[in-house]
């Protein structure tokens, strides 16, 4: 990140602080209360902060720097450093960074980044569960999922297809969150600078 001034860095720090504050308060609460889809809610808040900062002060590497800042702040979360959320935060930041680097600071990049960021949460969860339970248990779950899919009318479904369907559904929600974040960021830019 080599912006013309310090704004790209201060944006990474201040919007990282905003996201970090949400992670250590609301994130810890949702996690402790085992609220379903709590990870998706937190990832959505992260996408809003990442997209707004990038739209205000675009600079390559800014989203990654913000991810590192939030991972650092997560150390102050109740219960100390939690490896899973830290990996999740860094993955989200990387997804948004790659999307903006590839497509430029535009709406499609925000949608792609949002989709990848939100889809990374269930992808990590499934990978983590597969690693912990072992290959035999994964086979059992695969069989059960295929049976459930067949019962629901989706015959010949593979486990890869089922996982892809789940991740894609979350990715669609993520694309919507990315678009909403882009719109919100536009309103913030207009409010701060007096133009969109």
């Amino acid at each position: 990140m080599s912006g013309r001034d310090a704004r790209a860095w201060t944006a990474a720090a201040v919007f990282g602080a905003l996201w970090g504050a949400a992670e250590v308060t609301l994130g810890a609460l949702l996690s402790a209360a085992r609220v379903p889809l709590g990870g998706v809610v937190m990832a959505s808040l992260g996408v809003v902060c990442l997209v707004t900062a990038r739209r205000l002060h675009p600079a390559p590497g800014q989203s990654l720097a913000m991810g590192a800042v939030v991972a650092f702040l997560k150390v102050f979360s109740m219960g100390g450093l939690l490896l899973g959320p830290v990996v999740g935060i860094l993955t989200e930041a990387l997804a948004v960074e790659l999307a903006f680097s590839a497509l430029g600071v535009r709406l499609p990049a925000a949608m792609l980044g949002g989709a990848a960021a939100l889809a990374s949460a269930p992808a990590w969860m499934l990978l983590w569960a597969a690693l912990l339970t072992g290959p035999e248990a994964v086979q059992v779950v695969e069989r059960a999922m295929r049976m459930a899919a067949a019962t629901a009318g989706w015959r010949g479904a593979t486990s890869g297809g089922l996982v892809a369907a789940l991740v894609s559904a979350v990715a669609v929600v993520g694309a919507g969150v990315g678009a909403m974040a882009w719109r919100l960021a536009g309103r913030v830019v207009a409010r701060v600078r007096g133009r969109a």
Binding site: G3, A6, R7, A12, A17, L18, F72, Q139, V140
Partner: protein, 377 residues
């Protein structure tokens, strides 16, 4: 040493636990337990609480039963046991990490990776966090009062988010401007320090309107009248209703004048309320180009923009290196003096405060005298 060994054992335990090798989980549990005993035995007690153990046993039992039902009983036992051991390992390693990976070790790791600016951003974020939480609370209360309800409605959340994000955006600008005004180069791009022998530097300082520019103008006139070659530029301000409305550039040698900046609050550039004009920069470049030998360089004024290597800085740096002036007179804001002197590599420095000196031009001329040729001045 003990800490390093414990962390190596914990990392090895995490790696071995997930190998498709039947003794793997057992060895991993051994390594994780050894790491905890070596470094902090209490971590085991904290990690393996009764409630956690019951949960792990239940989850592993369900997995084992599912695999036994699907394949065979021995396969079920193996799968359940392997999962039990893996989760025990993960819980111990996570417990060790949560206690011993603190913000200081994070900062050290970032510095070791050459990411000092990320470390500074982390520190800034840590300071900004309580302020942002307070801003969120204030926005929430303000909205509740406006809606005449104890709590705002769910549909008010987007407006709240917009308010908070706009507040954060303003904080970004204020922080960057504050850092620039204090001459902090830590987060912005910094131009390289000018190497080589520095001439005598006389710094004219004082608050805005203290008379720095008139003093520099009188000093340049006195030097020229005394036969000392002078080059550089002045930046006379324009005042309107007691407010600085802009500034021009004046070439000291030719007397040519051009517009440099005009106040346009909403469209200000470089974090200032002014819009800059290229003709002003062009005249400044011309004023600093082809300098006479053994001359005195006068630069009135350089600021945060130049500290980032922009504005007049490339021309000033070029003149500093190429012309080798016998002395330099710079007008600077007080808080920027250390940063600029560091950037110029200046060691022989006299500071003249226009607020304290009744005749700053005469005081600056006296400060310059060791570098001036003998003769009438």
């Amino acid at each position: 040493m003990k800490k390093k060994l414990a962390f190596a054992l914990a990392a090895a335990a995490l790696g071995v636990a997930f190998l498709r090798w039947s003794p793997g989980p057992w060895l991993a549990l051994l390594a994780a337990t050894a790491a905890a005993l070596l470094f902090e035995p209490a971590a085991l007690r904290r990690a393996w609480t009764g409630r956690t153990l019951v949960s792990i046993l239940l989850a592993s039992g369900v997995t084992g039963v599912a695999v036994a039902w699907s394949a065979s009983a021995p396969a079920g036992i193996r799968a359940g046991l392997a999962m039990l051991l893996r989760v025990l390992v993960v819980v111990v390693v996570a417990s060790l990490a949560s206690r011993h990976v603190d913000h200081e070790s994070w900062r050290r790791a970032l510095a070791r990776l050459g990411l000092q600016r990320v470390g500074l951003a982390c520190g800034l974020a840590l300071n900004a966090m309580p302020h942002l939480v307070e801003a969120w609370r204030d926005a929430w209360i303000a909205l509740a009062v406006r809606r005449r309800r104890r709590h705002p409605r769910w549909r008010d959340l987007p407006a709240l988010a917009e308010t908070l994000l706009a507040h954060a955006a303003r904080l970004v600008d204020e922080t960057a401007v504050a850092a620039a005004l204090r001459g902090s180069l830590a987060l912005g791009p910094r131009p390289p320090v000018l190497e080589g022998c520095s001439p005598l530097v006389v710094v004219l300082t004082g608050r805005s309107g203290a008379g720095k520019t008139p003093a520099a103008e009188r000093l340049a006139g006195a030097l020229a009248a005394g036969g000392v070659p002078v080059f550089g530029f002045l930046q006379p301000p324009l005042w309107l209703d007691g407010r600085k409305a802009g500034f021009d550039i004046v070439d000291i040698r030719s007397g040519a004048r051009a517009v440099l900046g005009r106040r346009r609050d909403a469209e200000g550039q470089h974090g200032t309320p002014f819009v800059f004009h290229e003709e002003g920069f062009a005249l400044a470049r011309k004023a600093l180009a082809a300098p006479p030998r053994d001359a005195v360089l006068v630069v009135d004024e350089i600021g945060p923009v130049e500290l980032r290597g922009e504005g007049h800085w490339p021309a000033v740096a070029q003149a500093w290196k190429a012309a080798r002036p016998r002395a330099a007179v710079l007008t600077l804001r007080r808080q920027l003096i250390p940063a600029f002197l560091g950037l110029l590599g200046a060691t022989d420095v006299v500071v003249v405060d226009a607020e304290d000196e009744p005749d700053a031009a005469t005081a600056a001329l006296a400060a310059l005298s060791p570098a001036l040729p003998p003769g009438p001045r």
